[in-house]
Symmetry: C2
Subunit: 332 residues, 2 copies
């Protein structure tokens, strides 16, 4: 039997059924002009992030569930990067053809699975036609950390720079996906998973905010541009020690096989959604302890310097590389 | 001198300068991972709406300022349709080529002008590449009316159906834009303006919510589908009197010249962003008085019936037309 195309109203009915009964904070959920949500505090964190087919993903490498998951993860990560708790989300979906029930269930299933894993409820959105390709725009609203949002702009000269987890795995996973070899894909399935199903660091962000870190950002564009974001916003410079950038064993094995520099993926790759943070020297150990209490690994990768010293990475051979210009620009 | 293309960072700097100093409710504005906004009450209305080039607009008929204005107006209208007050907005922009400074200023200028006219602050967003065409996704957050949000689902048998302003002007304006005759465009400039620069009915929504109307929706898809939205959500039927649907003088003149049925634009055209509302017989006059106090015209167009009587429009000749199926589906 051929699958039927859905009308907008039918698609909304299916989504509403998938979402189930709304939680107690939801006064109005999917199906009216807008949602009404009751936040526990008046300070609400709001962010939006969009991904487009052909730019951020292709459907030969991504399932629709991966696309839904990843769009949701990217927006939730922005809340985590401030130390906030995601609470509710709106998802705007544009498709170039009416969807089948299977497609709607797969796409929304991925977004819903990701949102639920972070205790975030989907409360609304919209569905419309695009001229070409699939586009998702996800808004997430969350609540501030009691100690206040951790900004990018509060890093100070002398602060220690740290990062959670390992970096470059997502970019390396994309490399494996695009390399096309079935054998490679099997061998490096862990890296592919890191690319397709990243997990935003909500718990880490909360722990770091509680410990009193000075500045924070999620590693969404790549370590180099995200370090530059913090330095520019804080009007400081930095020195990152290349050897200290945390790389996974799987990434190192792949780099050797591919004759690639593993650090390249970490610096320019992005989409790791780990947290980059700074803390005064006396507070850095407390930050590591706060993360450790949740089983979250983190390491020191450098130090904040005065602005006039620039933003540098010191390589193993002692060479100093300018971090500006290594980055990712969404328009370029 | 040729205009230069902007990087993402340069575009954000220009937008930040255009936005000016944030209001006192904004703890964190544009430039960090997310915005932090302090709402006056805990119940927050959230909505998102997206428009895409080639589907919702073309750049031969719309200036970039029109596109920015209209995307913002559509989302603010969803807040108005619940009787809420828009407070802040996030704007996600996807472009298929890096923008020039002129393009960013025009697009954001239109969005900003619309938002400011409704006391709504732009507090964040994102910029990214699309595979083809311009896409805008606007999230608006607002505060509930003290009497609660007015839903689509509370219309009851016997309620009077009313609508603000006149209907069909926006669709007729699009018809004139597409007809291509310069003479027509000059003659019907008012209709074109209604299409390109619709104003959401925030003041009307607030007045109607205060007067205790039972159900409300904005006329975004067309009178027929929007009446159907209310009837289906409320599990009721209706009888709309075709002759009572408010049409502007300009629309009637155009219909005569174009040998078209003016009611067709009102029923199926959409994007008028007037408010459609229902009130118990004893409360309808109070609703009109509340609007009148603000100089907002409104009229009675029909009555809510039991569900089994269907959703009908009674034409001048006494013929009864089924309103279902006259509508607009975003996927079809």
């Amino acid at each position: 039997m051929e699958e039927q195309y859905l009308t907008e109203a039918e698609a909304i009915d299916i989504i509403r059924e998938m979402l189930g009964a709304p939680g107690s904070a939801v006064e109005v959920g999917v199906g009216d002009d807008a949602a009404v949500y009751h936040f526990a505090s008046s300070g609400v964190i709001l962010t939006v992030d969009s991904i487009y087919e052909g730019i951020h993903f292709t459907l030969d490498n991504y399932s629709l569930a991966d696309v839904g998951w990843k769009a949701m993860a990217a927006s939730i990560s922005d809340i985590a990067a401030m130390g906030g708790q995601p609470e509710c989300a709106l998802i705007s979906v544009a498709m170039d053809a009416p969807p089948t029930e299977g497609q709607i269930r797969e796409l929304m299933g991925g977004a819903l699975e990701m949102a639920r894993s972070c205790d975030c409820q989907i409360v609304g959105g919209d569905l419309c036609r695009s001229a070409s390709g699939l586009g998702l725009s996800v808004t997430v609203a969350g609540t501030r950390h009691p100690c206040g949002p951790v900004l990018r702009s509060e890093a100070r000269d002398g602060d220690i720079i740290g990062v959670t987890g390992t970096l470059g795995d997502s970019a390396a996973g994309l490399y494996v996906l695009q390399s096309g070899s079935e054998e490679m894909r099997e061998k490096f399935a862990g890296l592919i998973q890191k690319h397709l199903r990243p997990g935003p660091a909500v718990e880490a962000g909360d722990a770091l905010a509680s410990s009193g870190v000075s500045a924070m950002d999620d590693v969404s564009d790549g370590l180099a541009p995200d370090v530059v974001h913090i330095c520019q916003a804080s009007d400081v410079g930095c020195e990152i020690t290349g050897e200290d950038v945390p790389l996974s064993g799987e990434l190192r094995v792949l780099a050797e096989e591919a004759c690639a520099d593993p650090l390249g993926w970490a610096l320019g790759g992005g989409e790791d959604y780990q947290l980059l943070f700074t803390a005064p020297p006396g507070g850095f150990e407390a930050a590591l302890r706060a993360l450790n209490a949740h089983g979250i690994p983190a390491v020191r990768i450098g130090v904040i310097k005065p602005a006039e010293q620039g933003m540098k990475l010191v390589a193993r051979d002692g060479q100093s590389i300018d971090l500006e210009g290594l980055g990712y620009d969404h328009f370029l």
